[in-house]
C-alpha cells in the first residue's frame, strides 16, 4: 500500500516532516515503510509556456522555430521538430539548462545553425502517459489546454501536481485497515502526535421523487459469504476523464486513471480501503440483484482484456441479475456489465464479502486483484456505507452524473462491538515496563479505542484486537519496542545441553571429517527417476515414497527414501566442475512411508561417496571406523552380489548377527554412468539410527598384557573364489582363545601360482594372558589351525 503526502494532507498535516524520518518512525510504530520516492525529483527547470510565434526553419523542412513565453519577460527561442504545435498553444517547456526524467539534460545549442534555448516536452519526456494526460500521446508536444493559460511561467511540477513524496508500506495481514490512505494517515498522526480529522461524506438529497428502489432491489441469498451489501444509483452519467488532481493522486499511488466513474471507485478504494464496484445498469436483466453462490458450470467472463468464458463452481459467490452473473463477488466485475463511454446509469456497489471465500475464488480463477487482496484479509463491514457515500460525493464534485436518492443497505452480518478487559498492571508485567494507566489510556484513545473504566471498546476495523496481548502491543508500539529494557529470564535451572544422540552425531561428524570426508547438504526431495538412476528394480520397496502433491517439478516431487542419488549428484557436480577427486558424506534424513493418513518414519542414515580417491578397502575402512567409533564389536563382512546399485563383485555388507548395519562398495558402472562418473566410484550407506542404538560406549580398562605375543606367518595357495575372511575366520575359530588376531596381509597372483588361483598370506598373533607362550604351544595351536584349514577349506601351506 502506498501513501502520498498530498493525499495524506486531507486528513493530517505531516508533509513538513523529513521523508526519511517519517519512514523510520512509521516503521517503528508498526507500519513498515519499504521505501519512499520523491516524485518528479528529476524534473528541473520545466515550466508552463505559451507559444507566441512559429516560423519554419530556413534550413530544414521539418524543424519549427518557436518564440516562447516562459514567464520570463522576454521570449525564449526554442526549436522543435514536433508538428502538433500552434501559435497560442500552452505547452511544457524545458528552459535550458534543464533536467528531465531518466537523467536527460537539456542544454542550449544550435539546430541547423540556429540557437535553441530549451525543448518543448511530450508527455513521455515528463514521465507521463496518455492515461495521466488524456488527449495527449507521445507523437507530439503535450498540449496543456486553456485552463493552464494563467499558469505561464509556473514550474510544471506544481502546475501538474507532480511533486509529491510517496511511501510504500508493507502492511501486515492483521491490519487491513491500513490498506487505505485514511488508515495510514491516522497511524501517521498518532505516531507524530498530530491531530487528524476524517470528514464524514455527506449524502445530499435531491428530492426529485426518484429513488434507488426504482432501479434495483438486492437479495443476499448467501449471507454467510456476504455480511453486507450497500448500493446507490447514479443517473445521467457523463463519462469523461477525471480532473487532474484525481488523476495525479491515483498515479502517485500506482493506479492508472481510466475515466471519472472507474477512477472514483479506485479513488474510494485507496482512500477508504473499501473495494467498490460500478456496473452499467442497462446491462442488468431485470431490476433484481442476487448475491448468490454460482451454479456449477455457470459461465462467466471477467472484464479483463484477455479474459475468456470460465465455468464457475458452487463454492464461488457471484453478483447476478435474474439471468447471469455480473460480477465475481469481491474479485472482479464481469465483461457484460462494464462501464463504457455509453454508460448512462451506474449502480455503485460497496459490499462486504467473507475473506476466505474471496481468496479461494480468486485463487481458483487465477485472478488476484486489489479488491480480492483486500477482502481476503477481512474488511470492516461498517466501512461499506461511508465509502459508498464518499463515492457519491465525488460524483457530485466531479459532475459525473446525478446521484439518485435513497440507498440500499442489506446488512445480515452485523457484528457485535467487541470489548477487551483493560488491565494496565498485567500489561506492564507482561512487557516488563512501568507505564502509567493514563499513558496507556491516552494511547488507546488516539488509536480510536474507547476506554471506559476497565473496559476497552475495540473499533470495528480492528478485528485483530482480541485480548490483553493485543492491547499491550498497541501501547508498546507507540511507546517504542526499543524502549523496553533488556533483561534475562529468571527461570528455574533445567536440564539443558545436547541429548546423547545429538552428542553422538556431533562426534560422528568430527570422525568423518577427520577421515577426509566433506559434509554435503542436499535437498530432501528427489525425482522418481533418481530411483531408476540407482537401478532400483520396479518392485523395490524403496520406491515407495512420500509424494508431494504440489511439487515445484518432477525432479523434486518425492521425499527420498535413500540419499544415494543426492550424494551422487554432488559427485556429479564436482566432477563436472573438474575437481580431481571428491569424498563426501551426508547424515541425511530419509522418509519411509507408513500409511496414507499418518506421518512417515523419519530415519537418519549416513551416506558416503567418493571418486578419484581411495579404493574399496578404504571405503570399507571408513565404514568399519564408524562402527568401531560406536564401539560395536563382532560385526562381520558379508559379500553382497545382488544390490542393484553396486558392482556385483565389489559390494559388501557389515552385519551384526542377521542385521545389516552398512552396505558399501564400488558403484555399478551403469549407476556411475548415470551421474557422468567413470572409473571406480565408491559409496557406503550406514544405518546410523541402528548404529546409535547398538552403540557401546562403555569403556572398561583392561590390564596391559604382561607377557609377549608371538606370531606365525603362513601362505596358502587357494582358489580365487575363497574369501580371505573365511581363512581368517577358520584360523580364529580353530586357534581358540590364544589367538589374538588372524589377519590376511598379502594376496599374490601370478603365473607360478596358476590361473584362477591366488596366494594368501596370513599373520596369526598368539598370546596367553598368564604366561609367555612356548614355541611348542604356539606350534600346537598353529597345527590346529592348519588342520582346520585343510579340513574345512581344503587348502594347505604353499610349498616353500
Amino acid at each position: 500500500m502506498k501513501l502520498s503526502y498530498r493525499w495524506c494532507e486531507d486528513f493530517t498535516k505531516v508533509s513538513d516532516i523529513d521523508p526519511k524520518h517519517f519512514a523510520d518512525r512509521m516503521t517503528d510504530t508498526g507500519s513498515k515503510v519499504e521505501c519512499f520516492e520523491t516524485l518528479a525529483a528529476d524534473i528541473e527547470n520545466v515550466v508552463v509556456a505559451k507559444i507566441l510565434k512559429i516560423e519554419p526553419h530556413p534550413d530544414s523542412d521539418h524543424l519549427l522555430i518557436c518564440q516562447m513565453d516562459c514567464g520570463e519577460g522576454s521570449p525564449r527561442q526554442i526549436i522543435t521538430g514536433a508538428q502538433n504545435v500552434f501559435e497560442g498553444a500552452i505547452v511544457p517547456a524545458a528552459k535550458a539548462p534543464a533536467s528531465l526524467p531518466g537523467g536527460v539534460k537539456i542544454k542550449s545549442g544550435k539546430l541547423r545553425g540556429l540557437p535553441s534555448d530549451g525543448m518543448l516536452c511530450s508527455i513521455g519526456e515528463l514521465g507521463l502517459t496518455s492515461h495521466d494526460m488524456p488527449g495527449n500521446d507521445n507523437s507530439g508536444i503535450c498540449i496543456l489546454g486553456e485552463e493552464f493559460a494563467d499558469k505561464v511561467g509556473v514550474d510544471i511540477r506544481e502546475a501538474l501536481l507532480l511533486s509529491d513524496v510517496v511511501f510504500d508500506y508493507e502492511i501486515t495481514p492483521n491490519r487491513p485497515d491500513c490498506l487505505s490512505v485514511i488508515g495510514l494517515a491516522k497511524e501517521a498522526a498518532v505516531t507524530f502526535d498530530r491531530p487528524y480529522h476524517i470528514p464524514e461524506p455527506k449524502d445530499e438529497k435531491v428530492g426529485d421523487g426518484d429513488d434507488v428502489s426504482n432501479y434495483i432491489r438486492v437479495d443476499i441469498e448467501a449471507p454467510d459469504l456476504c455480511p453486507r451489501y450497500c448500493a446507490k444509483a447514479v443517473k445521467n452519467v457523463k463519462i469523461a476523464p477525471s480532473p487532474l488532481w484525481m488523476r495525479m493522486r491515483l498515479r502517485a499511488l500506482g493506479v492508472r486513471p481510466i475515466n471519472n466513474i472507474v477512477d472514483i471507485t479506485n479513488y474510494v478504494m485507496l482512500e477508504y480501503g473499501q473495494p467498490m464496484h460500478a456496473f452499467d445498469y442497462k446491462c442488468l436483466d431485470g431490476a433484481h440483484i442476487h448475491v448468490r453462490r454460482a451454479h456449477d458450470g455457470e459461465l462467466y467472463r471477467s472484464l479483463d482484456i484477455n479474459a475468456e468464458d470460465t465455468p464457475l463452481t458452487s463454492s464461488m459467490l457471484v453478483i447476478a441479475d435474474d439471468n447471469k452473473p455480473v460480477a465475481l463477488a469481491g474479485v472482479m466485475g464481469g465483461a457484460n456489465s462494464e462501464i463504457t463511454e455509453n454508460t448512462a446509469t451506474v449502480i455503485f456497489e460497496s459490499a462486504n464479502f467473507e475473506g476466505v471465500s474471496v481468496r479461494r475464488t480468486a485463487k481458483a480463477m487465477g485472478i488476484r486483484t486489489e479488491s480480492s487482496g483486500r477482502f481476503e484479509k477481512g474488511m470492516d463491514p461498517e466501512n461499506a456505507m461511508p465509502a459508498l457515500m464518499r463515492a457519491c460525493e465525488l460524483v457530485r464534485l466531479l459532475g459525473a452524473g446525478d446521484v439518485v436518492d435513497g440507498v440500499i443497505d442489506e446488512y445480515p452480518g452485523r457484528r457485535p462491538v467487541r470489548t477487551v478487559k483493560f488491565e494496565p498492571d498485567r500489561i506492564n508485567a507482561f512487557l516488563g515496563v512501568h507505564l502509567s494507566r493514563e499513558y496507556m489510556e491516552e494511547t488507546l484513545r488516539k488509536l480510536s479505542f474507547g476506554v471506559e473504566g476497565d473496559t476497552v471498546t475495540v473499533p470495528s476495523w480492528r478485528g485483530d484486537v482480541e485480548c490483553m496481548n493485543d492491547l499491550a502491543e498497541e501501547v508498546i508500539r507507540m511507546y517504542g519496542y526499543n524502549e523496553v529494557e533488556t533483561t534475562l529470564p529468571t527461570i528455574k535451572m533445567a536440564e539443558g545441553g545436547r541429548t546423547p544422540r545429538q552428542d553422538f552425531d556431533e562426534k560422528l561428524h568430527s570422525l568423518l571429517c577427520g577421515m577426509g570426508l566433506w559434509e554435503a547438504a542436499t535437498f530432501s526431495f528427489i525425482g522418481p527417476r533418481s530411483y531408476d538412476a540407482i537401478r532400483l528394480p520396479a518392485d523395490s520397496p524403496k520406491r515407495n515414497s512420500v509424494v508431494i502433491r504440489n511439487p515445484l517439478g518432477e525432479d523434486t516431487s518425492v521425499m527420498r527414501t535413500t540419499a544415494l542419488p543426492s550424494i551422487l549428484e554432488v559427485l556429479e557436480h564436482n566432477k563436472n566442475h573438474k575437481n580431481e577427486s571428491a569424498a563426501m558424506y551426508e547424515i541425511a534424513t530419509v522418509y519411509i512411508p507408513t500409511s496414507p493418513d499418518t506421518l512417515p518414519n523419519e530415519k537418519r542414515a549416513l551416506f558416503i561417496a567418493s571418486y578419484g580417491v581411495g579404493d574399496f578397502y578404504k571405503m570399507k575402512g571408513i565404514a568399519e571406523r564408524v562402527l568401531m567409533f560406536a564401539g560395536i564389536k563382532g560385526y562381520k563382512t558379508k559379500t553382497v552380489t545382488d544390490d542393484p546399485s553396486y558392482h556385483p563383485g565389489r559390494c559388501a555388507a557389515l552385519t551384526l548377527g542377521e542385521e545389516t548395519l552398512a552396505v558399501l562398495g564400488e558403484l555399478h558402472p551403469d549407476v556411475a554412468a548415470a551421474y557422468g562418473l567413470t572409473g571406480s566410484v565408491l559409496a557406503a550407506e550406514i544405518d546410523i539410527d541402528r548404529v546409535f542404538e547398538l552403540r557401546d560406549t562403555h569403556h572398561e580398562f583392561r590390564h596391559l598384557p604382561k607377557y609377549p605375543s608371538t606370531y606365525r606367518d603362513f601362505s596358502f595357495v587357494c582358489s580365487e573364489e575363497l574369501e580371505a575372511g573365511k581363512i581368517e575366520d577358520v584360523c580364529t575359530e580353530a586357534g581358540g582363545k590364544l589367538v589374538e588376531s588372524a589377519v590376511v596381509f598379502d594376496v599374490y597372483r601370478g603365473i607360478q601360482i596358476g590361473v584362477g588361483k591366488k596366494s594368501v598370506s596370513i599373520r596369526v598373533t598368539l598370546r596367553a594372558e598368564d604366561r609367555t607362550l612356548t614355541d611348542e604351544e604356539a606350534d600346537k595351536t598353529t597345527e590346529k589351525m592348519l588342520r582346520a584349514l585343510s579340513d574345512k577349506l581344503r587348502i594347505a601351506l604353499r610349498d616353500r
Binding site: V356, Y481, T487, L488, G496, G514, W518, V546
Partner: protein
Amino acid sequence: MKERLLEIKKEAEEALHAASADLEALRIKYLGKKGELTAVVRGMGALSPEERPAMGALANEVRSYIEGEITRLKQEYEARAKENKLREERLDVTMPASLPAVGGRHPLAKTQRDMEDIFLGMGFSIVDGPEVELDYYNFQALNMPEGHPARDTQDTFYITDNILLRSQTSGVQIRTMEKKKPPIRIISPGRVYRSDEVDATHSPLFHQVEGLVVDRGITMGDLRGTLLVFAKGLFGSETRIRFRPHHFPYTEPSAEVDVSCFACGGKGCRLCKNEGWIEVLGCGMVHPNVLRGCDIDPDEYSGFAFGIGIERVAMLKYHIDDMRLLYENDLRFLSQF
C-alpha cells in the same frame, strides 16, 4: 731396543696421522699378536733384569700411545662419518607438505552449531521434530486456522489435505508444550520447506532455528535480553539489536529484529545496504491461543518465541552472495570454511 721402540712410536704416529690411515690394519701391524711392538716386547726376554723395567715401561708407553691414538682417531672418524651422512640426508624442507586428508563440516552446519552453542550456554535444550508434519502442528495449533492466508498452498508443500512439509519448525514447540509443562527453554533447529523456486536468495528447502521460553513471569524485556545475548554471541560483543513491530499469528506482540551491521558496526556499508542494520530475526510473545491450545494457562504463564534462518546468517557471516552455492556442495566452495 729403546731406539726400536721410539722408532715404532714415530712410525706409528706418522702412519696413524696419514690422511687415509686404515686404523684396524695399523692396530694389527703394531699391536697384533704378530705386530711390531709385540715382536719387540717378545724380545725383552733377552734383556738384563736391570734393563727390563725401563724398557717394559717404555714399551707400555708406546703401546698405550698407539692404542689411545687409534681409539681417539676412530671416534673422530666416526663422528665425521656420521656428520657426513647426516649432511647427505638433507631434505629440501621448502618442498610442499604432504597434508593429511581431512574433510570439513558444511557452512550451514557450522553456523547452526554456533547458534546452538549460544543457547546451550543459556541452559536451552535442542529438540528435533518431524519434517513431514501434520497440518495441526504446522498451522492450527499456531493460531493459523483454516483459511488463513499464510496457509496458502502456494507457500506450502502438501502431501495430503492433512499432512505437509513443515514450513517452520514451530510444530516442535507445540509438541514440546504438549509433553512438558513450564519451565520450557528449547531451540528447534532443522529443515523447513516453502514452495519457492530456486534462485540466488530463495530455496524450496532451508534451515531455521526457532526458540521457545515459557514460564511464569516471562516478559518482553526477557525476550529482548535473550536475543541481545544471542546476537552478541553470534555477531560479536559490540552488536546492538533493534525491534520493529510486526505481525505473526502465533505471537502477540510480534517483532522483526535487526542487528547492527557487524561489517561496519552500524555506520553503513555494502553488506547492510547503508542501513547500518540487518534484519535477521522474527520473534514475539507467545499468543495466548497457542498456550491455551497446549493446555498451558496464559493467565499464569507467559513466554516468548523467535526464529532465525540459518542460510541467511551463514550468507551474511561468510559473505556468500548466492544461496545456490550452499546446496551445490562444490568442494572448491566447501573447503573455504
